[in-house]
C-alpha cells in the first residue's frame, strides 16, 4: 500500500469533493461517526480554529474541513455528516459513503461512543467493507468510566483487524496517539486486516457469482466484494455515484445485468425474497456488531443509566414536562433581560462617547458637514445602536442556549412537543429548528436540514420566522417593559419576561396552526417516519460552550447585522434628511402608509420602520425613535421612560404596543433569512412564500386585535 492519491490518479476526485489541499502531499483524513458521539469535539480538538465550513458540492449538507499539523505532515480533516449507517437511506449517508468510497481519503477515522459501542460498530463494520485504511476512535471514555462500562480496546483491535484508539476528546486525552495512528495508517506503516462481515450462505454465494466480473469492470479501484453486495441489494444511488465520480456505467453493462439476474434467481431459490434482502444484510451486520460488543464490553453496573432515566422521568413527565420546559425558557430570557441591561447601557455610553470624539475629529480636519452627517450620524450611529442593543443579550443568550444544547436537553424538547407537531402533520424535529430560530432565524432555516422529508423541511423553513429571533427580542422586551410592565416596580423584569414568554408561546401556536394549514393545502401530505434519539445527558464543557456560542453564533450574527446595518444607516439617514416640499421622504412614506397601518393598530411610522428594518430586525425601534424625533438621525434616549413619553406623545396606547409586538412576531423575515431560504430551497417560489405567509398572518392578527379592542371599547 502506501500509495498516495497522486500515484493512483485520483487527485481529481478530491477536487470533485472540493477538498482544500495546500499541497499534493497533504494527507486527507475522513472523520466518520454516529451523531452524538463527540465527533465534532474530536474534529475541533484536532483542528482548533483552523476550519472551513461550506456545503458538499451540489448538496445542502454541511461540509466541514479543518487542517492540522502533526510531526512533519499537513493533514486535511474532512468531517463527514453524522450517520448511523452507510446504506444511503438519506442524502447525508450518501455523502458520507461517497467520500469514503470515491474521495479516496488516506485514512478514515470512525468516532464511536464507548457508552453505546454496539450500535456504533454498525457504521465501523460498514466502513471497513469499503476501505482498509480505518482507525477506530473509541471516544467518551470518561463517560464510560463514570457509568462503569469497560471497553477492552486491545481485544476490539484484534477482532476488528484495524487500529483502535481510546480517547476523551473533550480533555484532549488520547488525541496524540490518534494522530500517530492516523499517520501510520495513511502512510501504510500499519497494515490493516479489516474483519469482513460474514453474510448468509445464499448471499455469500451470490456475491461470489458476480464478484469476478465486478472486479474486472471497476478495474480494482474499489472493494469489489462490497460493490457486488450493494449491486445485489439493488442500491441505485451507488450506481449513480459510480457514474458521476468514476464514469463507470455499470448499469448499462449487459453481461453484468445477466449475472445479477441469475444471482437474484439463485437467492430466490434459497427461499429468500428479494424484498427481504436488505433485512438479511442489515441483520448480518447488526448481529456481527452485537457479538463483537459482547466480547469487548463489560458492565460493572447494570443500572448505569439510572440517573439519566430519573432525570428524563421528570423532564418529560405528563404534568411537569411542558411547564418545566417553559420555565427553563423563562429563566433563560429573564437572565438575558436582567443581565443585558447594564452592559448594554455601558456599551451605548462608550460608543456614543466615541461618536463625540469622531465629530470633533471631523470638525478639526474640516470635513464638509454632509459627509460627517452620513458617516457619523448615518453609519456610525446605526452601528452603535445595533452593537449596544444586540451584543449583550446575544452574549448572554447564546451561551445559555448552547449550555442547554450541550447538556442534551434540546432533544427532550422535541420529544415533549412532537405530539403537537404530528397533529400539525409536521416533523417533531421542527421543534429543534425553532429552538435555533430563537438565536437567529437564518440559523434556524439552515438547521431545517436535519429534517429528511422535503415536505416537512419546507414547512419548518417557512414557519421558522414565527419564532422571534435575537434581533426582535429587544423590540419585544422594550415594548413589554414600558407599556405592559410599567408600574410593576421591582417585578418589571419578571413581568417583561412573562410578556415575552407569552409572545413566544403565541408564536409556537401560530407555527403549529400555519404548519397544519400548509399540510392541508400547498404542502399536502402525511407525516413521515420519525425517529429521534435521546442521547445521554453529558457534563457540559464550559470552555467549548463559550467558544462555540461566542465565535460561531454571537460574532457571526453580529457581524452579519453590522454588515447590513451600515448601508441601511445611509438609506435611513437619506430618507430622513431628503425633504420634498415641507416634509422628509420618510414622513411622506409614513403618511402614505398611515391609513393602512391605522387599521392594524399602528401608525405609518411604525410600518415604515418595519419596512426599513428589512435588512435587520434590530434596527426597527431605533428607526422609529429617529422618525418621531424627526431630527434626521438615530438617537439614544437616556431612559426607557423618555422613550415611553416620546411614543405616548405620538399617539401610542397599550394597544399600539401590543400590535407592534404582534407585528414584530409575525411579519416578513429579515433579508439574511430570506437569502438563506433562497439558498436552502433553491426556489424563488418558496422564498416568496416565506415572505408572504408570515406577513399575511401578521396583518390578519393585528387587524383582529386592533379592531376587536376598538369595538369592545377597550381603548
Amino acid at each position: 500500500m502506501g500509495l498516495t492519491s497522486q500515484s493512483t490518479g485520483t487527485g481529481a476526485l478530491k477536487e470533485m469533493f472540493e477538498v482544500q489541499l495546500e499541497s499534493p502531499n497533504d494527507i486527507v483524513v475522513a472523520l466518520a461517526g454516529n451523531p452524538n458521539t463527540g465527533k465534532s469535539t474530536v474534529f475541533n480538538s484536532l483542528t482548533g480554529l483552523n476550519q472551513h465550513t461550506g456545503n458538499w458540492p451540489g448538496k445542502t449538507v454541511t461540509n466541514a474541513q479543518g487542517k492540522y499539523k502533526h510531526k512533519d505532515n499537513k493533514y486535511v480533516l474532512v468531517d463527514l455528516p453524522g450517520t448511523y449507517s452507510l446504506l444511503a437511506n438519506s442524502v447525508e449517508e450518501q455523502v458520507a459513503r461517497d467520500f469514503v468510497c470515491f474521495g479516496n481519503p488516506d485514512a478514515t477515522v470512525v468516532v464511536t461512543d464507548a457508552t453505546c459501542l454496539e450500535r456504533n460498530l454498525n457504521l465501523v463494520l460498514q466502513i471497513m467493507e469499503i476501505t482498509d485504511n480505518v482507525v477506530v476512535c473509541v471516544n467518551l471514555l470518561d463517560e464510560a468510566k463514570r457509568k462503569k462500562i469497560n471497553v477492552d480496546l486491545k481485544k476490539l483491535e484484534k477482532i476488528l483487524g484495524v487500529p483502535v484508539v481510546g480517547t476523551t476528546a473533550r480533555s484532549g486525552k488520547g488525541l496524540s496517539k490518534l494522530k500517530d495512528t492516523v499517520e501510520k495508517v495513511a502512510k501504510g506503516e500499519i497494515k490493516t486486516n479489516p474483519k469482513m462481515i460474514k453474510y448468509d450462505e445464499a448471499l455469500e454465494l451470490a456475491i461470489k457469482e458476480i464478484d469476478p466480473l465486478v472486479n474486472e469492470l471497476i478495474d480494482n479501484k474499489l472493494n469489489s466484494k462490497w460493490i457486488s453486495l450493494r449491486l445485489i441489494d439493488g442500491d441505485n444511488t451507488l450506481l449513480e455515484s459510480m457514474n458521476e465520480y468514476l464514469d463507470f456505467n455499470l448499469d448499462k453493462n449487459e453481461s453484468l445485468n445477466e449475472k445479477l439476474n441469475s444471482a437474484h434467481e439463485n437467492i430466490k431459490k434459497q427461499g429468500i425474497k428479494l424484498e427481504d434482502l436488505r433485512d438479511f444484510i442489515v441483520s448480518n451486520i447488526v448481529r456481527t456488531a452485537e457479538n463483537i460488543s459482547k466480547d469487548v464490553v463489560s458492565l460493572e453496573n447494570e443500572a448505569h443509566n439510572q440517573l439519566d432515566r430519573k432525570i428524563d422521568k421528570v423532564l418529560t413527565s405528563k404534568f411537569l414536562g411542558i411547564p418545566i420546559m417553559i420555565a427553563l425558557l423563562g429563566v433563560v430570557f429573564w437572565i438575558t433581560i436582567e443581565g443585558a441591561n447594564v452592559p448594554s447601557a455601558m456599551l451605548a455610553n462608550g460608543l456614543f462617547r466615541i461618536e463625540e470624539q469622531l465629530t470633533i475629529f471631523f470638525n478639526t480636519i474640516g470635513t464638509p458637514q454632509w459627509v460627517h452627517d452620513i458617516l457619523v450620524l448615518g453609519i456610525y450611529r446605526t452601528l452603535a445602536w445595533v452593537i449596544s442593543v444586540m451584543l449583550p443579550p446575544m452574549a448572554i443568550f447564546f451561551p445559555l442556549f448552547t449550555l442547554l444544547e450541550d447538556l442534551g436537553y434540546l432533544p427532550r424538547v422535541a420529544f415533549n412537543l412532537d405530539h403537537y407537531f404530528k397533529k400539525a402533520c409536521a416533523h417533531g424535529k421542527q421543534a429543534l429548528t425553532m429552538c435555533m430560530g430563537f438565536g437567529c432565524n437564518a440559523a434556524g432555516v439552515i438547521a431545517c436540514r436535519i429534517i429528511d422529508s422535503p415536505r416537512e423541511r419546507l414547512i419548518a423553513t417557512i414557519t421558522n420566522n414565527f419564532v422571534p429571533c435575537n434581533g426582535r427580542f429587544p423590540t419585544l422586551i422594550a415594548l413589554a417593559t414600558i407599556f405592559i410592565a410599567s408600574g410593576t416596580g421591582a417585578f418589571s423584569s419578571v413581568v417583561a419576561t412573562l410578556s415575552v414568554l407569552l409572545a413566544i408561546i403565541l408564536g409556537v401556536m401560530i407555527t403549529l396552526f400555519i404548519s397544519k394549514i400548509l399540510s392541508k393545502t400547498i404542502l399536502k401530505g402525511l407525516p413521515s417516519s420519525f425517529t429521534l434519539e435521546l442521547p445521554p445527558y453529558r457534563k457540559p464543557q464550559v470552555g467549548r460552550i463559550i467558544v462555540r456560542s461566542i465565535f460561531d453564533r454571537t460574532l457571526f450574527v453580529l457581524g452579519r447585522a453590522v454588515a447590513v446595518a451600515a448601508p441601511a444607516g445611509i438609506v435611513i439617514w437619506g430618507m430622513a434628511n431628503i425633504t420634498i416640499g415641507d416634509a422628509s421622504l420618510l414622513t411622506h412614506c409614513a403618511q402614505f402608509l398611515n391609513p393602512f397601518a391605522q387599521l392594524l393598530g399602528m401608525d405609518g411610522y411604525i410600518m415604515m420602520a418595519f419596512i426599513l428594518g428589512l435588512p435587520a430586525n434590530e434596527i426597527v425601534i431605533p428607526i422609529l425613535i429617529m422618525s418621531y424625533m424627526s431630527k434626521g438621525s438615530m438617537l439614544e434616549l437616556d431612559s426607557l421612560s423618555e422613550m415611553k413619553q416620546l411614543f405616548v406623545d405620538n399617539g401610542w396606547t397599550w394597544l399600539t404596543a401590543v400590535c407592534t409586538m404582534l407585528f414584530s412576531l409575525n411579519h416578513w423575515p429579515c433579508g439574511t433569512t430570506l437569502w438563506t431560504i433562497k439558498k436552502e430551497t433553491q426556489s424563488w417560489k418558496w422564498t416568496w412564500m416565506s415572505f408572504i405567509i408570515p406577513t399575511v398572518t401578521g396583518i390578519v392578527v393585528c387587524f383582529i386585535v386592533a379592531q376587536g379592542a376598538t369595538l369592545l371599547g377597550l381603548v
Binding site: 457508552t115 450500535r119 405528563k318 415533549n416 417533531g428 425517529t531
Partner: protein
C-alpha cells in the same frame, strides 16, 4: 412457543419485549433496521412523552423515540 404478539407501543412502560416482526416498509423499515431493530432484539419501553405519544424505547443501548405510527408496525413478544 407461539406467544401472542403485540405492537410495540402497547408494551407497558418499564417492561421488555423481543422484536418478532416488522411490518413497516420502505424508508421507514430501513431506518428501523439501522437502529438495530431486527428479529429477537430486546427492547425496553422507557418513557412516555407528556401527550403519551411518542414513546422512548431503549434499543441496543440507545434511547430512541418512536411515534405510535412507527411503533405499531413493530410486533413484539412481551418478556415477563
Amino acid at each position: 412457543m407461539s406467544k401472542k404478539l403485540i405492537p410495540l407501543h402497547e408494551l407497558p412502560t418499564g417492561s421488555f419485549g423481543k422484536v418478532k416482526k416488522i411490518t413497516a416498509e420502505g424508508n421507514s423499515r430501513r431506518r428501523m433496521l439501522d437502529l438495530g431493530l431486527i428479529e429477537d432484539t430486546t427492547v425496553e419501553s422507557l418513557l412516555k412523552s407528556p401527550a403519551g405519544d411518542p414513546i422512548a424505547y431503549e434499543i441496543r443501548g440507545a434511547v430512541i423515540a418512536l411515534r405510535s405510527e412507527e411503533a405499531s408496525k413493530i410486533f413484539i413478544e412481551s418478556i415477563s
